[in-house]
């Protein structure tokens, strides 16, 4: 898997803050770059994949850790 260009840790933040902040970071990435997104809000399990679909980006990988969900999101080409 490609190395993440940037990591966003939203630990402690409740929906919709992780979605909002992830969108802002993804907007600033170049196409093909990967965001590593760390969430603790259980709602993120549904919200983040839905966000990725809505934006047309690609969910490279999702991993559940103890009290944490980690997503790797590749920004779509223009």
């Amino acid at each position: 898997m490609e190395t993440a260009a940037t990591t966003l840790d939203t630990s402690g933040l409740l929906c919709p803050l992780p979605v909002y902040k992830a969108s802002l970071v993804l907007n600033k990435l170049d196409p093909g770059q990967v965001l590593e997104l760390i969430c603790t809000d259980p709602g993120s399990l549904a919200d983040i994949p839905a966000l990725v679909r809505q934006r047309g980006d690609r969910l490279v990988k999702a991993e559940e850790r103890e009290h944490q969900q980690v997503f790797w999101i590749e920004k779509a080409a223009l």
Partner: protein
């Protein structure tokens, strides 16, 4: 030795003020009530844009901040509020004077003019789509985002005035707007019309007027879902504010965007009133009511914050046809 000073303090008769906040409307210094020259007879608009920060939300913002300060909830905190612009502008102005930081969450359809004004006044602006949460959430992205800032880790540094839930919003209109209208119409008002937004205006004014005379008709104006009328809310898509009191509302008139903008244009060309589009919606609703004497509609703000919207509407109108 004593010194005497001849300080030029506030004198309302001379329209000289110590502080911009002295210009906030009161029962003794109300915003103007102006008769419409065309349409339903005996119709007046209350021009809330004569308030110092440019809209009816000046009243609510002042009451919300005073309430927080009186309860000691503002001490050392930053403010965060969801707003379609006007409450944010009034809060930003008052927060600037109080030296308090303000973060505003705002729906992404709000015109650039409002967002720029907020940033000019020192607020941090978080713009968000209404359907921010992609899964299973009501269409109130800005409200959800403001709440999540307060409820998330580190959120204890924020306090949210909460205009949709805070009774101080209603009290502002019960104690100022309502009594002003009653006095300005010399108790002859028969119908009051205001848009549904936070519903502070219609609930506060409606409650006051019903206490004076329960037969006064109170009419709410609701836009269609997906509308482009900033400040108004369709309760078919947005959650009803907890401060809304249906007991003081007799009728609801639904107005679509096209009707509201067309009526706004007529207000400019027939009445020379430089109003925002929600005023057009209010007057379009008045057009549809059975006339029954003195009617007062709220004109929440001026048109200067919507010039980009109006330019879209006008197209080539007003340019030479060669």
């Amino acid at each position: 030795m004593t010194t005497t000073t001849n300080r030029l303090s506030t004198d309302r008769n001379l329209r000289r003020y110590d502080d911009i906040r002295d210009l906030l409307p009161t029962r003794h210094d109300p915003t103007p009530l102006v008769r419409l020259r065309h349409g339903t007879p005996d119709t007046f608009l209350k021009l809330e844009w004569f308030s110092p920060f440019g809209s009816i939300k000046d009243r609510a913002a002042a009451y919300l901040l005073d309430g927080l300060a009186e309860r000691g909830e503002l001490d050392g905190k930053e403010l965060v509020e969801a707003t379609s612009g006007n409450t944010g502008i009034a809060l930003a102005a008052l927060a600037a004077l109080a030296g308090v930081k303000l973060t505003v969450t705002i729906p992404d359809g709000v015109p650039e003019e409002k967002k720029t004004l907020l940033r000019m006044l020192g607020a941090e602006v978080w713009e968000t789509p209404d359907d921010l949460c992609p899964v299973d959430h009501p269409k109130d992205g800005a409200i959800a985002l403001a709440r999540s800032l307060v409820n998330s880790a580190g959120g204890d540094r924020y306090v949210m005035p909460g205009q949709y839930d805070n009774p101080d919003n209603v009290r502002a209109h019960y104690e100022t707007t309502g009594p002003e209208i009653w006095a300005q119409t010399e108790g002859r008002i028969r119908t009051f019309v205001a848009g549904f937004g936070t519903t502070g205006t219609i609930t506060g004014v409606g409650r006051f007027l019903k206490e004076q005379d329960p037969t006064i008709r109170i009419v709410g104006v609701e836009p269609n879902p997906g509308h482009r009328l900033p400040g108004l809310k369709s309760f078919q898509e947005a959650k009803q504010p907890t401060i809304l009191d249906w007991d003081v509302i007799d009728e609801v008139v639904r107005i679509d965007d096209e009707t509201a903008y067309a009526r706004t244009l007529r207000l400019y060309r027939e009445e020379a009133l430089i109003v925002g589009p929600s005023t057009g919606a209010v007057v379009a609703a008045i057009d549809r009511l059975d006339p029954n004497g003195v009617t007062v509609g709220i004109s929440p703000d001026s048109g200067l914050k919507y010039l980009s919207y109006f330019a879209d509407m006008l197209g080539d109108d007003g340019t030479p046809t060669i």
